[in-house]
């Protein structure tokens, strides 16, 4: 995107391009350390996320203090890191690189709702992608 000083508010950056800023969702408990909520996520049809979740919306566990800055979300998408999951306010919750075999990040925590009986489909899709991938440089190093 060519924004050399892109940064996050989380670590007190003085950057003028804060792409990650404080989460504006209400706390479940006043004064809690994190925004800890179960919230719906709408999934963009035709995306890899849609193939992973096999539905148009999902309910996911958020545990966060920071989130996408909406001022940059469309620019990130236009630059190629596609925003393919959205919370009810339209804030990005899933991003992916379409030309990559599996490059998918969530701004929620699938692992908190995954169980032995019902592993989360995102984690299953990641492990399946890993099981089909061979590193280019997996051979012995020389020197």
């Amino acid at each position: 995107m060519g924004i050399g000083d892109a940064d996050s508010q989380e670590h007190g950056s003085a950057s003028q391009n804060l792409m990650v800023t404080a989460c504006s969702l209400p706390q479940r408990e006043p004064g809690a350390a994190y925004v800890d909520r179960h919230e719906p996520v709408a999934i963009k049809p035709g995306s890899l996320a849609a193939r992973i979740f096999k539905r148009e919306s999902t309910s996911e566990e958020y545990l966060c203090n920071y989130e996408f800055n909406r001022e940059y979300q469309e620019r990130v998408d236009a630059a190629g890191l596609k925003v393919t999951g959205f919370d009810e306010r339209g804030v990005g919750r899933i991003v992916e690189l379409p030309e990559h075999r599996f490059f998918v990040a969530t701004l929620f925590l699938p692992q908190l709702t995954s169980s032995d009986a019902r592993p989360h489909p995102y984690l299953v899709a990641f492990v399946e992608a890993a099981s089909h991938y061979k590193p280019k440089s997996s051979g012995a190093r020389i020197g």
Binding site: S8, E10, H11, L63, L97, H100, R101, F102, F103, V104, A105, T106, F108, L109, P110, Q111, L112, S114, S115, D116, P119, H120, Y122, L123, V124, F126, V127, E128, A129, A130, S131, Y133, K134, P135, K136, S137, S138
Partner: protein, 94 residues
């Protein structure tokens, strides 16, 4: 015998962080469904050299960026993400 899959979990593991424990457990559960045997290795962000991330990551078949920012080394975490993007290695991040 299931095929083993080498997965590096990039993050600064703390046993008292429930998201970290859940990450390890969730990947193990997912591997069972996928029919593979997971070799999970937590990789502290300070172990990833920003100018030579391959030293810590080259043998991995999947790279998973764990929750828990701010990381001990933000540069290390970002280098792992860039490595996965450039090499084509599967990347998960939550």
């Amino acid at each position: 015998m299931n095929r083993s899959v080498r997965i590096g979990v990039v993050g600064d593991y703390r046993a008292d962080n429930r998201t970290h424990v859940a990450t390890t457990n969730g990947l193990r559960h997912a591997a069972r469904v996928a029919g593979v045997s997971p070799e999970l290795e937590w990789i502290h962000t300070s172990r990833i050299k920003p100018d030579a991330p391959a030293d810590a990551l080259r043998a991995l078949e999947g790279i998973f960026i764990a929750p828990g920012s701010p990381y001990a080394s933000m540069d290390g975490a970002l280098a792992a993400i860039r490595f996965a993007r450039e090499q084509g290695a599967p990347l998960g991040a939550t």
